[in-house]
């Protein structure tokens, strides 16, 4: 236990939402992340999937403590990040980096590519000389597939895919141990997505990184992850090894999610059995009692309304939170 790399235990992030009151507001907690636990090991990729509003981005940010946790523990190399003060947290983040979804919006438009990539070095390695820093930036640019002679260009001069490479270079320059990737390829065209996914996988192998890969795209997550966490309304539905999750999904939500993904093969796509979910995501301000998925679940019974299912072992390396997974 104690030698684990990243341990997240019962992490909760609740946002107070004003729901009434005239002078003194009445607030209802929006449970964006509600009791999530997982481990992450060096060199491992954990995919986090779910639909919009399921709390996957909030989870990524709470791991880095970019958003404070309401409750729970984020233990990084044995230290609880939620208990650190600002100065200690900044020191810890040397090993914790993030790549954002929108490649252009996450780069400062008035800084050159070189300055953007060098910024972590200026913060965490202040003793480096200018020449050393430049050398490291150029090497990193080359590594992520950017031409080092573009070092003095500004973000708007790059394409979306290239901007994402700058974002990746910035995250990798300190050789961090853990990188959170928050929908890193969602804004990119298909032909560019594949390039960026391959780059991330190469970097992971070379640097022995742990990746938390947040995405709504189940096909990409299958390709890049070792284990996958399925979130719904802030709660873990299923956490399993990739092979088990894609071959024998146990949770009705995982099954529906997987069957909904269109397959680029006309014969398969037209003949597959699709599990259609009825209705829409319930309001996170007023989630269903018991199992949060029960309002859209074909297997729901009275038990699901009264009792929240806990994650239980359903097979080798496969945990599922459902009362009826055996049915």
């Amino acid at each position: 236990m104690s030698d684990a790399f990243l341990q997240v235990r019962d992490l909760k992030v609740h946002f107070p939402i004003r729901t009434g009151g005239i002078l003194i507001g009445e607030y209802t907690p929006l449970k964006a992340v509600d009791g999530v636990s997982f481990d992450l090991n060096p060199g491992e990729t954990l995919g986090v999937v779910g639909e919009s509003g399921c709390g996957k981005s909030t989870l990524g940010r709470a791991v880095l403590q970019l958003i404070g946790a309401t409750d729970g523990v984020v233990s990084w190399l044995g230290t609880d990040l939620t208990s650190l003060n600002k100065k200690e947290l900044i020191a810890a983040r040397e090993n914790l980096q993030i790549v954002f979804q929108d490649p252009l919006a996450s780069l400062d438009p008035r800084m050159t590519a070189g300055d953007i990539i060098a910024e972590p070095l200026r913060n965490y390695r202040p003793t480096l000389s200018k020449a050393e820093r430049r050398k490291m930036v150029e090497d990193m640019m080359e590594r992520v597939g950017l031409l080092p002679r573009m070092i003095n260009r500004y973000p708007h001069e790059f394409s979306g895919g290239q901007c994402q490479r700058i974002g990746i270079a910035r995250a990798m320059i300190l050789r961090p141990k853990l990188v959170i990737c928050d929908e890193p390829v969602s804004a990119l065209d298909v032909s560019i997505q594949a390039q960026v996914v391959n780059l991330l996988m190469d970097l992971q192998r070379d640097f022995g990184l742990a990746l938390l890969f947040i995405s709504h795209d189940l096909a990409i997550v299958r390709h890049i992850s070792h284990r996958v966490l399925v979130l719904y309304l802030g709660k873990v539905m299923e956490l399993a090894d990739k092979a088990a999750l894609y071959a024998t999904p146990r949770h009705p939500y995982t099954q529906a999610l997987l069957s909904a993904v269109p397959i680029p093969d006309p014969t398969k796509e037209r003949n597959k059995d699709r599990i259609l979910l009825t209705g829409d995501l319930p309001s996170p301000l007023n989630p269903p009692t018991g199992c949060v998925f029960r309002t859209r679940c074909g297997k729901a019974t009275e038990l699901c309304a009264s009792q929240t299912p806990e994650l239980e072992r359903a097979g080798d390396g496969q945990d599922v939170a459902c009362h009826h997974w055996k049915d």
């Binding site: 096909a219 299958r222 390709h223 997987l258 909904a260 829409d280």
Partner: protein, 324 residues
């Protein structure tokens, strides 16, 4: 079968401070009644602008040349008044983002019946009844109550159903769906795709499905056209395009799409980036990214040539050498 919508030699260009940019170059397409044509391409390939031109919805700085005929009526030379009698009535569009394409201050019932009141001169009561009927047909629960709601009160999936209902109100001959499920979550996307398949089976309309998602095309389209840098590079039946892609770009697109049904080692990539339309490569626009490139590709542009089964492609390399 005769084509309902025919596009012949369409070129769309936009005048910009940096000179004219061609978004669509010499595109010819046709769709028959009861058929679904999938139009695939990446951002900037011209797939949306082709049909924005057909709907007379190009931005002010855009001009279209060539011919677009709806049942023999030339849409490009038609004036605004003439277009208004056709749009909604005979050709309708489903847009990507249902929030921004519905009028925010108009109740759902009125938005739907407006099309009928405008085109078929029905009274408000009949309009409302037909709107209710249509909401039921697109499987909107509690349809009666939704008639008096505003778009913001509905979820994304329901809004997209309202968009589809609106497009179907006058039973048009052509329905253009521009990325109809891109803004939706995957489980909601599955619901909407099912609805579109139902529409396709029950109506005799020609459907044009514009998308970047090959999986969506695989499920719905009968024929597929692939666009790159403003031109059609390949077109064929859905079976041929997925099983025997004959253009290196189509092959690359299929190979680099991660799949849920197959375990892949490393993703195949198409090197480089989509071209800048202001500064297109010489010859074949795809040549800087193509692994089969020869000298001829750099100087000459390949024309679309016919193969079997109505399959056409624009590539100099012999098909056997390109096929993997």
């Amino acid at each position: 079968m005769t084509s309902v919508l025919e596009i012949d030699g369409l070129t769309v260009s936009f005048s910009t401070p940096d000179g004219d940019v061609s978004a669509v170059s010499d595109v010819s397409l046709s769709v028959e009644a009861g058929e679904c044509l999938g139009l695939v391409g990446e951002s900037g390939s011209g797939k949306s602008q082709t049909f924005m031109a057909a709907m007379g919805l190009l931005a002010d700085n855009g001009t279209a040349t060539g011919e677009i005929r709806l049942d023999g009526i030339d849409l490009l030379s038609a004036n605004e008044k003439k277009l208004n009698t056709l749009r909604g009535e005979r050709i309708a569009m489903i847009f990507q983002d249902p929030m921004t394409s519905l009028t925010p201050h108009m109740k759902i019932g009125r938005q739907l019946s407006e099309v009928l009141i405008e085109h078929q001169k029905v009274d408000a009561r009949t309009g409302r009844a037909r709107a209710l009927d249509m909401l039921n047909r697109v499987h909107i629960p509690e349809a009666e109550r939704r008639l008096d709601m505003y778009p913001h009160e509905l979820s994304g999936g329901l809004r997209q159903r309202v968009m589809i209902a609106m497009a179907l109100m006058c039973e048009p001959e052509v329905i253009v769906a521009d990325e109809p499920t891109t803004a939706l979550d995957v489980t909601v996307q599955a619901q909407i795709l099912d609805l579109l398949a139902e529409v396709k089976d029950n109506l005799d309309a020609a459907i044009v499905l514009i998308t970047h998602d090959l999986g969506v095309v695989a499920g719905l389209a009968d024929r597929v056209a692939v666009m790159y840098a403003g031109r059609i590079v390949e077109q064929g039946t859905v079976g041929d395009i997925f099983a025997l892609p004959a253009h290196p770009y189509t092959q690359g697109l299929l190979a680099c799409t991660p799949r849920l049904d197959v375990e892949t080692e490393a993703l195949v990539t198409i090197s480089g980036q989509p071209p800048n339309l202001q500064n297109l490569p010489s010859g074949c626009s795809f040549h800087p990214r193509c692994k089969y490139v020869v000298d001829q590709c750099k100087s000459e542009r390949p024309a679309l040539e016919a193969m079997d089964n109505g399959h056409i492609r624009a590539c100099f390399r012999p098909h056997v050498e390109v096929a993997q």
